[in-house]
Chain length 120, copies 2
DNA sequence: CTTGACCCTAAAGTGTGCTTGAGGGTTGAT
DNA sequence: ATCAACCCTCAAGCACACTTTAGGGTCAAG
């Protein structure tokens, strides 16, 4: 599929997709070029984009996503460095979830507190 | 307490604290000025900073935090607009948690997958 | 009364994640 | 052949969250 269609299907903008590509977020072979130099995307890029979106929401920068995705593809799941990095990311995720739950509780509390904010 | 001590106790930098103040994140009365124009912070600012940090980790921008914190203080917990905004934030938080859990599951899966990444 | 560790303001600089603009080729329909 | 609707490559610009720089005051100790 071409970039316009991918933009529509992924919900991203055309320039954003080109930007991601320059960042190196798409694995080799996922973006080819047609005779007219137009980009031709593999269907699999949709999953990659979905992961990128979720990882971003999870608080990771494109660089972090890139290095994890890229190194993972190169070194595989058995590299001690990759395993260490993943373990660290897991800890970060858990910390983030803890913080989000804390904020969530505060919001819930404020929502439940009607009239007279004095409720020990 | 003065800004240097607050920086140490909060883990933030001195310029960051001044930046937050310009953004209006500290409620009235929490930052006074001494005779020499030095800032004098109320102890309560530590809790505010803690909330700000958590809300940031939860994915909210300083502007969002500011407007929610500020409007809440002015309009109280019973304003329909505040309740609507909080309800929306709650939805955002839940969506974010869902996304983080999805990323977490992917990381966990990759960590458990040793040798032979083929495990239907 | 100077030295060092503090504090102040205003303004410019930085990294991230894009968007916008300029200038131009390609494709398909009319 | 020309028009809209695509696509391309730079390069510059923008919002956010700070940091850094520049140029000064303040204060306790020696």
């Amino acid at each position: 599929m071409k970039i316009g269609e991918l933009a529509e299907r992924s919900g991203l903008t055309v320039p954003a997709l080109r930007f991601y590509e320059r960042k190196g977020l798409f694995g080799v072979g996922t973006v080819k070029r047609l005779g007219n130099n137009y980009r031709e995307y593999d269907e699999s890029v949709l999953e990659t984009l979905d992961l990128i979106k979720k990882a971003q929401t999870a608080g990771f920068s494109l660089n972090e996503i890139d290095s994890l995705l890229g190194r993972y593809k190169v070194e595989g799941p058995n590299s001690p460095e990759i395993r260490a990095a993943l373990t660290e990311k897991l800890k970060e995720l858990d910390d983030r979830i803890t913080d989000i739950m804390a904020v969530r509780n505060i919001v819930v509390e404020k929502l439940h507190k009607r009239k007279k904010p004095a409720g020990k």
